[in-house]
């Protein structure tokens, strides 16, 4: 029983990360009908920013020991800033010029950006994985056999917080309403006085901020940053977004947790080498019976 609870916790931990990254995919898909395949790399850049920030504090001050809350907060904010900046540059240079191009063009462009960012970091770090300084004590809460690192609790809670904030943002703010309106009908939205270009940039920025922050916290959890670390979570988060119904915000959230937990459980049953198989079988099954995903909306409903 305890092992099952532990597996569930493991699933929720990584599932939260998938969910937060998946939101970036789903939001951008919503407004542009485009998959930003470089999104996972924003997560990776966040992890590196976190490393450089915390390592800087470690080397030049004793702040990591005296006020870790402050240094962690700064690292997260910087991670978001870097990711947002990159996303906006990406949007301006690699995607906006292709907005009227066939759909495949921005997709290829995104894959190019992804490869570029990965290799820039590979060069910058000389292919050396970077190890986070010990900011978070690696101690754990133990209940019987169940063990939860404090940093893991932090990661789980923060994922929830991010998801909550995003939901609030989408539902209750002016920019959020604009994003929803542009997602439904770009032209009509602009007739309602919504600046579509700015809304698209906001969408990229919000997705990137989430990915950047998640990168920092995930980096603290796994304690390393490598140039390749964004790739697999990126693919998984994309899967989660499709599973939940691409374009749907609650779908991306649910898809992330669903995928994380099903991976954890299938590891127990079949071993980790088959967990991706299980995940994709689930995806195929969902797409066969509900091509619009678990939470997505049928697009042909008005017909």
């Amino acid at each position: 029983m305890q092992e099952w609870i532990q597996l569930l916790i493991d699933g929720i931990t990584i599932g939260g990360v998938y969910a937060v990254i998946a939101l970036g995919y789903t939001l951008v898909y919503g407004v542009l009908r485009m998959i930003n395949f470089a999104h996972g790399e924003l997560f990776m850049m966040g992890a590196f920013t976190g490393y450089y920030t915390l390592n800087g504090f470690e080397k030049h001050s004793s702040l990591n020991d005296s006020v870790p809350v402050l240094t962690i907060a700064i690292a997260i904010v910087l991670g978001m800033v870097v990711a947002v900046t990159l996303a906006l540059v990406m949007e301006r240079i690699a995607y906006r010029p292709l907005r009227r191009a066939p759909r495949l063009a921005p997709l290829i462009s995104a894959i190019g950006v992804s490869i570029l960012l990965r290799n820039i970091m590979l060069r910058a770090t000389n292919a050396q994985g970077k190890v986070y300084p010990k900011v978070f004590p690696r101690t754990a809460v133990e209940i019987g056999e169940i063990r939860l690192l404090y940093v893991q609790i932090f990661l789980i809670v923060l994922s929830f917080v991010f998801l909550g904030l995003l939901y609030l943002f989408i539902q209750r703010t002016k920019a959020g309403v604009a994003i929803r309106a542009v997602a439904e009908d770009r032209d009509t939205a602009s007739l309602m006085g919504i600046n579509v270009d700015r809304t698209i940039m906001t969408t990229f920025a919000v997705g990137a901020a989430l990915a950047g922050a998640a990168g920092v916290v995930y980096g603290m959890f796994v304690t390393t940053a490598t140039s390749g670390m964004g790739f697999i979570p990126g693919i998984k988060a994309f899967t989660a977004a499709v599973l939940g119904g691409i374009g749907s915000v609650p779908g991306a959230m649910a898809g992330g947790y669903f995928l994380g937990i099903s991976e954890a459980i299938s590891t127990k049953f079949f071993g980790a080498q088959y967990k991706d198989v299980v995940a994709f079988v689930l995806l195929v099954a969902v797409l066969i019976f509900r091509p619009w995903g678990l939470f997505g909306k049928r697009e042909d409903k008005r017909a």
């Binding site: 904030l165 609030l168 943002f169 209750r172 703010t173 002016k174 920019a175 309403v177 604009a178 929803r180 309106a181 439904e184 009908d185 032209d187 009509t188 939205a189 602009s190 007739l191 309602m192 006085g193 919504i194 600046n195 579509v196 909306k297 409903k301 008005r302």
Partner: protein, 261 residues
């Protein structure tokens, strides 16, 4: 003084001339009809007025400001709003949310205020919701606020589209076939609503319409387009007698038989 001034506007699509040297003036707080056979260029004119297209040549002035060439959202901000021939609501949003998107321009909530729920924000939100409710009541959708847009009946959807357009707080409203597909009863209600727009809200209304009963009943001034050119304009009773208009409509019979549709 005219609120809208269209000056020698032409628009060509890869050589096909959809609108040719059309000029027209619309006085503030009037209801103006744009009529003409299919393919006359009516919708093209609307698309030019709202910024979907740029004129190939000519100028469009609204309230003393030149608006052609402006991005769509700037034209909306300048005070022009519209509805569509084929309804284009945000169908996954509720009725009131659709209206709130329209009032988007006049809101200032961000993520910080949404979390903190400052008195100012709460008040602003309340006001926006209140005004949205009022707008919905005005168009006759009281009690339907929380219905998803695509669950509304056809006539209701048309009204919601008008409510959403009103939320932008325009001075001029463009209605593209507001009674299309409506039964006579619904059409009468719509005519009443259009009059109220002008009488109660002091709105300038320009509408495209096929049903002559509606056009003749509600419009104070009419512009007739045919093959992209303006062939006549004036008061309804004068236009009706215009020989060129009769020729343009010859065969359709629509003009004289009081909207046989």
């Amino acid at each position: 003084m005219a609120i809208l001034s269209v000056r020698h506007v032409s628009r060509a699509f890869e050589g096909l001339i959809a609108l040719n040297d059309v000029s027209m003036e619309v006085e503030a707080e009037t209801i103006v009809g744009v009529i003409g056979p299919n393919g006359a260029g009516k919708t093209t004119l609307f698309n030019l007025l709202t910024g979907f297209y740029r004129p190939t040549s000519g100028e469009i002035w609204f309230e003393g400001k030149r608006v052609d060439g402006l991005p769509l959202h700037r034209i909306a901000a300048a005070g022009i709003s519209r509805t569509f021939q084929n309804i284009r609501l945000f169908s996954n949003m509720t009725a009131i949310e659709n209206v709130l998107v329209g009032s988007h321009l006049h809101l200032s909530t961000n993520i910080a205020t949404a979390i903190l729920r400052l008195p100012f924000t709460v008040k602003q939100e309340k006001r926006a919701v209140q005004s949205a409710v009022e707008t919905l009541r005005f168009v006759g959708l009281a009690g339907r606020e929380n219905e998803l847009a695509w669950n509304l009946a056809y006539g209701e959807q048309r009204r919601l589209e008008i409510a959403r357009a009103l939320a932008v707080r325009p001075r001029m409203l463009l209605l593209d076939e507001p009674t299309a597909g409506m039964n006579p009863g619904e059409s009468v209600d719509m005519i009443r609503l259009i009059r109220a727009l002008r009488d109660d809200l002091r709105m300038t209304v320009v509408l495209i319409e096929h049903q002559m009963r509606v056009v003749m009943g509600v419009c104070e001034y009419i512009t007739v387009l045919d093959h992209g050119e303006k062939i006549s304009e004036g008061r309804p009773e004068d236009v009706q007698k215009d020989q060129r208009v009769i020729e343009a409509y010859l065969g359709t019979g629509a003009l004289l038989s009081e909207g046989a549709s």
